[in-house]
């Protein structure tokens, strides 16, 4: 029993951590595109990124499930390359990345669009390329936006339920995360166990947010 609890909690935070790292890598370029691009395609991209905010998770989960199934074009392609996404940890990562995308992209995008144009230009006139400017000047100065994005994406992935239920099921040590476990324990009237999961999530999430906001406030004061 105790072992199962630990396995589930580890899996939950592992999923959140992997998702957050991937989101950070794709979120920064995507946010930069949304903040600075002037193409017409931008509104379409913005809409797609924001969809998970309003769409019921079951809708996203349903379509992902269809896409992952070996009967579909994508699923067939993946299966032929030895990748199985339905009811697997990798599939959960893909679903979580899509589902938490706006939580990473929006804070970074809004922080980026608040950086004055002249900061970029000053760096260019000092001989620095766009990429060097981004890494050495811009990212350090929007770290509050990055931290918000990381925290929100992490916390949102920990709390995810609908998508995981649809595409992951409830396989211990593979797709059984804490939010699913709570539902499962309650269904089998095992309230004590449900409490253990729920309270752990509650405390851990509270602690993470508290630490980050305290640190963030200090670093912001340093910049002012």
């Amino acid at each position: 029993m105790e072992n199962e609890f630990l396995t589930t909690m580890t899996l939950t935070f592992e999923l959140a951590a992997v998702t957050t790292v991937i989101l950070l890598l794709i979120g920064i370029p995507l946010a930069a595109f949304l903040a600075f691009s002037k193409t017409r395609f931008k509104s379409v991209a913005e809409t797609i990124v924001s969809m998970p905010l309003v769409l019921p998770p079951s809708v996203l989960g349903f379509y992902l499930l269809l896409a992952f199934s070996p009967a579909s074009f994508i699923g067939e392609f993946l299966t032929s390359h030895g990748v199985r996404l339905a009811f697997s940890f990798e599939g959960l990562v893909v679903g979580s990345v899509l589902f938490s995308l706006p939580f990473m992209v929006h804070p970074i995008q809004s922080a980026l669009s608040q950086v004055p144009r002249s900061i970029f230009e000053a760096s260019y006139t000092l001989g620095k390329s766009k990429i060097e400017t981004m890494i050495r000047v811009i990212l350090p100065s929007i770290r509050h936006g990055l931290i918000s994005g990381i925290v929100l994406a992490f916390a949102h992935t920990v709390g995810e339920f609908g998508v995981i239920l649809m595409i992951g099921g409830n396989i211990p040590d593979e797709t059984r995360v804490a939010s699913i476990a709570i539902y499962d324990e309650v269904e089998s009237l095992n309230y004590a166990m449900a409490h253990q999961y729920a309270l752990t999530l509650f405390v851990v999430t509270f602690a993470i947010l508290l630490i980050v906001y305290t640190l963030n406030k200090k670093s912001l004061e340093g910049l002012r």
Partner: protein
């Protein structure tokens, strides 16, 4: 020698403006672009720096082509030897004063020059402070020093002092003049401050609606007539008090308020807010310093 011959269509507040700039800047000179807002002064500077692209034309610096539309040459700002000082300073907020300068340095030699530059703008005591803890004048000094780190061929100053209070402005003007005479870097300044222009520049280019109307010394521009024995001032009418048969007119000349008595007839041609020339015979005017 910097020779510029470019055109660009600008979208200004007053509609579309077809700008056409043609100018030759001598090496080592201090040239001020003077003129009303929206005339294209800043755009010209941005085209020289590569931050904006002209529609057509050529920009050549010491024989090196920076832009040539017909040959499809357009060096990015990174490849042009420029120092740009922005109106809003544009300091990097997470770097200290010294780090801001070191960021610009590319060679060992430039890195070693950083401390000298910090000393030149008198910021030794603040070298480890973050920009957010500095005053406006201090920030602008950092921006100026940072723009000089790479020993640019041209220093571009886009209204660098406009956000500062008058006394700080004056101090920085003195420093700018000193730095220019010490380093001899070709300097382009955008300004609409007469005092600043007269004090700093070797030549003045008057920019009016997208072209350079006049290129001459600042003295020639601001007082075209040679010594005529007449003192002429231009003022704005603030107040008119009718006291028949005369009218007391209050004018703002520069930052001084002047009151004068006119006949009601003379005053008829004036109205509040209009501009008027005050002229008086002054063969031998008295000029004495103001005590603060």
């Amino acid at each position: 020698m910097i020779s510029i011959n470019v055109t660009k269509t600008l979208n200004t507040a007053d509609g579309v403006l077809n700008a056409e700039f043609s100018i030759e800047i001598r090496n080592g000179e201090f040239l001020t672009l003077f003129g009303p807002s929206g005339a294209g002064k800043t755009t010209l500077m941005r085209m020289i720096s590569g931050l904006e692209t002209p529609d057509s034309g050529v920009i050549e610096v010491d024989g090196e082509v920076w832009f040539d539309k017909s040959k499809k040459i357009n060096l990015p700002p990174q490849k042009r030897s420029i120092g740009f000082v922005f109106q809003d300073y544009a300091l990097f907020p997470t770097m200290s004063v010294r780090e801001n300068l070191l960021f610009a340095a590319e060679t060992e030699e430039q890195k070693q020059g950083v401390d000298e530059l910090i000393a030149m703008v008198e910021l030794e005591n603040l070298a480890n402070r973050l920009p957010s803890t500095l005053s406006g004048g201090q920030k602008q000094r950092v921006a100026l020093a940072r723009a000089l780190v790479r020993r640019p061929k041209i220093l571009l100053l886009d209204e660098p002092l406009s956000a500062l209070d008058p006394s700080m402005r004056q101090k920085l003007q003195d420093e700018l003049a000193l730095i220019h005479s010490r380093l001899g870097v070709t300097t382009l300044l955008v300004s609409h401050d007469i005092a600043e222009t007269v004090k700093l520049s070797d030549r003045l280019a008057s920019v009016v609606s997208g072209c350079i109307e006049k290129l001459c010394s600042p003295m020639e521009f601001f007082s075209p007539q040679t010594l005529s024995g007449k003192l002429q001032l231009i003022g704005e009418v603030l107040k008119m008090e009718e006291d028949f048969p005369v009218t007391v007119v209050t004018l703002l000349v520069g930052s001084s308020v002047v009151r004068t008595v006119l006949s009601s007839e003379e005053a008829n041609s004036l109205s509040i807010g209009s501009h008027a020339i005050i002229s008086t015979k002054a063969f031998n005017p008295i000029v004495i310093p103001v005590k603060h």
